[in-house]
Symmetry: C2
Subunit: 177 residues, 2 copies
DNA sequence: ATATTTTTTCTTTTTATTCTGAAATTTCCG
DNA sequence: CGGAAATTTCAGAATAAAAAGAAAAAATAT
């Protein structure tokens, strides 16, 4: 597939943004490509379209699969794996937040808890310990917020936050809970 | 200053987390150190404590200053710059979100707008353009949410989100708006 | 079963980032 | 003004991350 100018701009920019947020550029590009394509693509086609190594695509797809951002589908009469992602931005957002939470936030919470549950507690300045506790509290509260928000359907959330007027067709469309 | 075991664990972990979110490790470590210290420190002391090059500290502090996460203070009878950060987690969070918004979200919005305002529009698949538009809508709505949330004082936000019961001393303390 | 296609793994190369150390610059004190 | 202290800049070294390419493995067809 030959990328048209606007699609290319989108995909390349997404790759850049990925880098800035700690996501491998190729991983981000592949996801952007599948998102824009809106249809399953096989690895070789992705390889050609992005102009990267086949092995790189394989590795990156594995990562996207592990984050549940991409799934494998099969097309009739084609033995190759095809890959697709959701075109629902709200669903994608939820998956991304959930993934980062599991991979980064939860481990951080564990570290902070182990800090506050350490035998070396007396050695530390009490105000330091207070700040570590405040940090832990804050992160736990924040993840609780996030849980609440992600559970809501978008339009409920909009209303809750008093943004009713700004609700767009985009988010209004996909809602079932 | 010699880092005590728990502080060291915190600072090193914060550095790791920074890396995963696209923040230079030294930058994150310095911020963590100033946060735990809860007092102004001069660059040389930071250098010694973290065991990195003086120049690295200088560069990293400049970055933290540009993000408004750290400010310079002067101590009586000491001509050197001293650096301190807020110990208010909510305030820090707001500064971090605001910074990333300016540096990454706003430029992305510009790119998406320019995509949708391009002379090459006809060449693209209409469904692709729809998805780009949906992405733009989503990001704009999300930043509007974030603006709303960050404007609230923490306790109001808790109540709004129905998390009243979980509100902690941590966030209850610093509220004036 | 064997050959072919497809996918994955693994090592090497390349690229990008981070960090250092030396030199240059700035600040500010007597 | 000097001149010492403090800070910044910058070129190069070290490190880490990303990507490529070759080889192995797996899957599927004949």
């Amino acid at each position: 597939m030959e990328l048209k100018p606007i699609s290319e701009r989108f995909v390349l920019h997404w790759g850049e943004m990925g880098s800035r947020w700690g996501v491998n550029r190729t991983v981000a590009q592949i996801h952007a490509l599948l998102y824009l394509a809106g249809r399953p693509m096989e690895a070789e086609e992705i390889t050609q379209t992005l102009g990267v190594a086949r092995s790189n695509v394989s590795t990156s797809l594995k990562e996207l699969l592990s984050w549940k951002l991409v799934r494998i589908v099969h097309l009739r009469g084609d033995r190759r794996d095809h890959f697709e992602t959701s075109t629902d931005v709200w669903e994608l957002f939820k998956l991304i937040v959930e993934g980062r939470r599991q991979r980064e936030i939860d481990p951080t919470i564990q570290v902070l808890k182990s800090c506050l549950d350490s035998p070396d507690l007396e050695a530390e300045d009490p105000s330091t310990l207070t700040r570590i506790r405040e940090t832990l509290d804050f992160i736990e509260i924040l993840t609780a917020w996030a849980d609440e928000m992600l559970r809501l359907k978008p339009e409920t959330l909009m209303k809750t936050l008093g943004l009713g007027a700004k609700i767009s067709q985009t988010l209004r469309r996909n809602s079932a809970d």
